[in-house]
Symmetry: C2
Subunit: 355 residues, 2 copies
């Protein structure tokens, strides 16, 4: 039997989705596939809360972040980057790999950036702001809405990594003025890993026309050209069964209603945190920045791996440990995507008996 995945991704995949995946051995240059890919694209717009196109690449979320950068900028472009943890650091690393001139705002782990900090650092020279919405390594959420309001009408690309939040925590691409919004299939979107989804604004596509960073596989304009065909398709062979599966998962979100999905995540996260505190444990994250998709719990030195192993061995539940300097000092428990109260209770019970 498969284990219960209470990690911050990959997450549990519903049977309905698995069934579709195993029926999804279609050819990608058929009308049958185009129909499904077309449906997926409409549903992606719904969860991205956008009228823009959302591009799909066979890739991990990291590939999606790379795609966001190589299509938006040219060599030497100055950008402002916010990091509040491990994934923010990774985003900066990719930007530097491609020769971008990165000004960094680094926030101590566990907290979010403040809008004042961004106001202080942003200059007219910055061609883009890159930031993580939900920092999986610290279970903290950045104030994307406020940042978007501040950036509105500024000549800058607003690029957001929402890999571990989109579909679990509210993020409004159009209303909040996001130009490039990146997520992946295996988090709140309830599908297996293997697909990156990237929303692109008109401004982002205009920047892609000008960008001189090299790209071929991750070329936005080429993907957009194939997406806009009468029968939408992909430039290169897509991961067909994963796309068929993701379409079903997004259908489930549509049926539940996006607002209800966010509410479910919020309620389960609140309950989880309250019950964890009742056990005498403390949370790693600043309460002002609590994430609704993942919780990071402080664990006294040495006990984190025992807890992780005990949950796996005796309860069939997979959770995650700390990353970077928090390794061995944290456990991180994901509650996103296909998650319900029963799973939360099972995890709480297992945790209680393991600390």
């Amino acid at each position: 039997m498969n284990k219960l995945l209470m990690t911050p991704g990959p997450t549990n995949v519903p049977e309905r989705v698995i069934k579709k995946i195993s029926q999804g051995m279609l050819h990608h240059r058929t009308k049958e596939y185009s129909k499904i890919f077309g449906e997926l694209n409409e549903r992606l717009k719904y969860v991205f809360q956008t009228k823009n196109s959302v591009l799909t690449f066979p890739s991990s979320g990291t590939g999606g972040l790379e795609a966001a950068l190589v299509n938006s900028f040219s060599k030497g472009d100055k950008i402002l980057a916010v990091s509040i943890g491990d994934f923010g650091d990774r985003f900066i690393k990719i930007a530097k790999t491609y020769g971008l001139d990165v000004d960094e705002i680094k926030i101590p782990w566990g907290s979010a950036v403040t809008i004042d900090k961004i106001k202080e650092k942003l200059t007219d020279e910055h061609k883009g702001l890159i930031i993580t919405h939900n920092e999986t390594s610290t279970a903290a959420v950045n104030p994307i809405k406020e940042i978007g309001e501040f950036l509105k009408n500024k000549n800058i690309l607003f690029i957001v990594d929402a890999v571990s939040s989109l579909g679990g925590i509210d993020i409004k691409m159009d209303d909040w003025g996001i130009d490039v919004l990146v997520t992946a299939s295996q988090k709140a979107l309830m599908s297996p890993p293997g697909l990156a989804f990237i929303g692109v604004s008109e401004k982002a596509l205009e920047s892609a026309e000008k960008s001189n960073l090299p790209k071929f596989y991750f070329d936005f304009l080429n993907a957009k050209k194939f997406l806009d065909k009468e029968n939408p398709e992909n430039p290169y062979t897509p991961a067909v069964p994963l796309i068929v599966g993701a379409n079903e998962a997004l259908k489930m979100i549509e049926e539940e209603g996006l607002e209800n999905v966010f509410l479910r995540h919020k309620n389960l996260a609140n309950k989880f945190r309250e019950e964890v505190k009742k056990m005498g444990l403390t949370l790693f994250t600043d309460p002002n920045a609590f994430s609704n998709t993942v919780t990071a719990i402080n664990i006294e030195d040495g006990k984190a791996s025992f807890i992780k192993e005990n949950l796996e061995k005796n309860y069939g539940i997979i959770i995650a440990g700390g990353q970077g300097y928090t390794k061995g000092k944290l456990i991180r428990i994901g509650h996103m995507g296909y998650v319900n109260e029963e799973m939360i209770d099972r995890t709480l019970n297992a945790l209680k008996n393991s600390i």
Copy 2:
């Protein structure tokens, strides 16, 4: 019911593989996953006929070709590229995108390159030779073995696109001196699309150390570092169910025996071509370059799409048309991976009734 995929990829996926995929919702940082990924790596070495590492990326084959280039070279490096069709042209396009100085050998479609042509064009200045093994657009095969023998002891990287051949047509990475060998999951390897597999020689890894082309997602050295861990894993979230599926597909190849797999492909291809000729149809490809994984058949102007549609509608069989200038003038039928005599007969019968 799923249709019979007689295209040059994606190909039919055996039930055994689909079953594994639907059970493969594991977390990628567990020993359970590492065990499967470790098995996959050993099996990949068997089908690549190599002692070298074979790296796995969530990506299409095109991404794999890009990875091969960005890890092997530095900006401005001079390389020799052989193109005998559409996929050879694509390989050249990627190389130029990354600022390589490409000398091209272009062979008329339907034929293979000759070793003399390569001897004539290759100079000491060339840091690499890039070539397609099996050109899917023309159903022609290049003489990789002879080229490898000629290149032996030369200071050059030998990079081969075997996306539509590896696991169907003999290609011996080590014996033929191939430095970077690229394939994908959805052709002869009987798995759904979504994974690129890349064999890398010691020389290729040394070149990766020196290469200054930008890369992050497709970084060979990082993938190798994670592969070489005691419990092998991936730098970024892998497409777990596809990996579990590919491991099962490779197990099937192991059980049948690689030599038997090649023989089956050869016999089915021979039979298919002979029967097609008996129908009064002619083959597009030079008989000296016949591919054992795909056959390209000349079709008088205008009838190709009717045949394609008729096979799909009335027989549930998907085949491919021509690419590039052969569009509308060819049909291409794949016979690779999970293919047997019954499928060949079904396709021949449908074709006979559609011309």
